[in-house]
């Protein structure tokens, strides 16, 4: 692909959206404590799409929770230069008593935005995830893919509309498509890339699927397991299909090595 956007025009001028330096996270205390992350350094540029890759127990979810502010690091620093991040989890976690539209509206309501304003923005966001027709439906009346799109719209509502627009936005995604069937996942990946492009947000996307990481990300960061550390990084933006396949193989190989190393212990 030669006709790509000049990235310098897309990215805001700040130097990083998220910066982690020497982040440690231990659950529990003393000998029985479990170290989830041991000295993670990571820099995410504004507008950049970073995929965090790793096997189970590599602390990728913990890392995301730390960035989202749901947990505090045991040591190290997390610097987030963005508005409130849009967070998506593996499950859509929609409020089952609210309609799709009311779910999207919830963060706006929490932020005290006026009713008419809320309605407009909700309509826009549902439109963005191509769900304009189903705002009145309840979560149980939607398919898994539709629920995840409502969750995306809700996350965007909290990120784009509840704080001042001067800071760059940030998407934090914790394996949001892993519970979906293959074709739905495929379509939603394309959808996410489209939304990411149109918002100019930085994205940190956690996955255990190498193919997904290479397809979506501009950069893939491989974490080791127990404790989680950054093992290696690959730049994977704008690869040709052949290079993409090659990179998937290489990363897969490395991931297998990392996992095998645990068998000995």
């Amino acid at each position: 692909m030669t006709a790509t956007l000049d990235e310098s025009t897309v990215r805001p001028a700040t130097d990083s959206a998220v910066r982690l330096s020497g982040v440690h996270k231990t659950f529990g205390q003393g000998e029985r404590g479990v170290t989830a992350l041991a000295g993670v350094d990571l820099d995410v540029a504004p507008g950049e799409f970073v995929c965090l890759l790793g096997a189970s127990g590599c602390g990728k979810t913990t890392l995301l929770n730390l960035v989202a502010g749901l947990e505090k690091p045991t040591a190290g620093e997390i610097e987030r230069n963005s508005s409130r991040p849009a967070v998506m989890f593996q499950e859509a976690a929609l409020m089952p008593w609210l309609t799709a539209a009311a779910n999207v509206e919830l963060p706006l309501r929490l932020a005290g935005i006026s009713r008419s304003e809320r309605k407009n923005r909700t309509i826009e966001l549902l439109d963005l995830v191509r769900l304009s027709g189903v705002g009145g439906k309840r979560p149980h009346e939607l398919s898994g893919g539709m629920r995840q799109r409502v969750a995306l719209a809700r996350a965007l509502a909290s990120a784009l509309h509840t704080s001042d627009g001067s800071l760059p936005s940030l998407l934090l995604m914790d394996e949001p498509f892993s519970a979906l069937d293959a074709i739905t996942r495929d379509v939603l990946q394309a959808e996410l890339v489209r939304v990411w492009r149109s918002t100019g947000a930085a994205a940190v996307f956690v996955t255990h699927d190498v193919r997904e990481a290479v397809r979506l990300g501009q950069r893939v960061v491989l974490l080791s397991s127990r404790p989680g550390r950054v093992v290696q990084e690959w730049q994977v933006a704008d690869l040709s299909p052949a290079d993409e396949a090659e990179t998937v193989t290489v990363i897969n190989q490395r991931l297998r090595e990392v996992i095998s190393s645990h068998a000995a212990a």
Binding site: P96, R130, G145, E191
Partner: protein
């Protein structure tokens, strides 16, 4: 690029159409009502037929097993002279008032037990224990404390229903999937906002189950109190009417009173709690048995 995008949109629309759960075709309203009404009515007919047969066989003396028609005559007489409505009003207004007070006490209590660890470990076990104590057991104590007064009635009623409403709320809150409060936090909800917009609505099904049980306990406790602590000063409720039957050895009165007590209990359940519960469960896609 735009072509690809259109293609994706088309695939997505197709998936949406295929994957969205279908609504089950609802049966006709008439059919639903018939299904709800006919089986219990048929059962009732069978029960009365057996009763009639047993009475006709005269296994037991008349003062133990009256004829169904004798009970009906007593019941009809009380309805015709309007006394039945007086009994029902006396009891129901007490029960409803007491139940409302119970809600006001039990709701903050339940919230505190569910959310504050120290309070939970301190009074949680007692709250569950109180639920298994029959409220009749409180009547003698309440009579000694408050005499034969309306206060006694309310005290017994509250001791019966507050624990079950509070426990219902605690169970409801415990069953809230932990992901929902986390979502609330990342969406920017403060502590109070999270309680109001997320925790309480999420706990509503459990809370409602607690309310339903709380009502049943209120009604039972009140009847126990009315039967034991009957006095002309208190006005005559259904419990006192039942106790009249006992003192006069008038079995048709006793059975009429039991029927009225049952009717009120079932009536409130069907008219108030069933529709509420259905509504709440249906909006959440938990259709239940209804």
């Amino acid at each position: 690029m735009p072509r690809l995008d259109d293609l994706d949109a088309a695939v997505e629309a197709g998936l949406d159409a295929l994957d969205a759960p279908r609504e089950r075709a609802a049966h006709g309203r008439l059919r639903r009502v018939l299904w709800a009404v006919l089986p219990p009515v048929a059962f009732l007919v069978v029960v009365i037929a057996i009763w009639q047969a047993l009475w006709a066989a005269a296994f037991w003396p008349e003062y133990q097993l009256p004829a169904p028609i004798a009970v009906w005559n007593e019941l009809w007489a009380r309805i015709a002279d309007g006394q039945a409505f007086g009994f029902i009003w006396t009891s129901v207004h007490r029960a409803v008032l007491g139940f409302l007070i119970a809600i006001v006490i039990a709701t903050p209590l339940g919230l505190a037990v569910a959310k504050i660890r120290l309070i939970r470990s301190a009074i949680g076990p007692f709250l569950s224990g109180l639920q298994s104590l029959p409220s009749v057991a409180w009547v003698p104590a309440a009579v000694l404390w408050f005499g034969i007064t309306p206060t006694t009635m309310y005290a017994v009623l509250l001791l019966g229903s507050v624990p079950s409403i509070a426990n219902g709320l605690v169970a409801g809150i415990d069953q809230v999937p932990p992901i929902l409060p986390r979502v609330g936090k990342v969406l920017g909800a403060g502590r109070l906002q999270a309680s109001w917009h997320i925790l309480l609505p999420a706990a509503l099904p459990g809370y409602l189950a607690g309310l339903k049980q709380g009502w049943a306990f209120s009604w039972r406790s009140l009847m126990a109190a009315e039967i034991i602590a009957a006095s002309p000063l208190l006005g005559k409720g259904l419990g006192a009417y039942l106790d009249d039957g006992r003192t006069l050895s008038d079995i048709p009165t006793v059975i009429s009173a039991i029927i009225l007590i049952l009717l009120v209990g079932v009536g409130i359940e069907l008219l108030v709690f069933r529709p509420l519960e259905r509504q709440v469960l249906r909006t959440r896609g938990l259709s239940g048995t209804a």
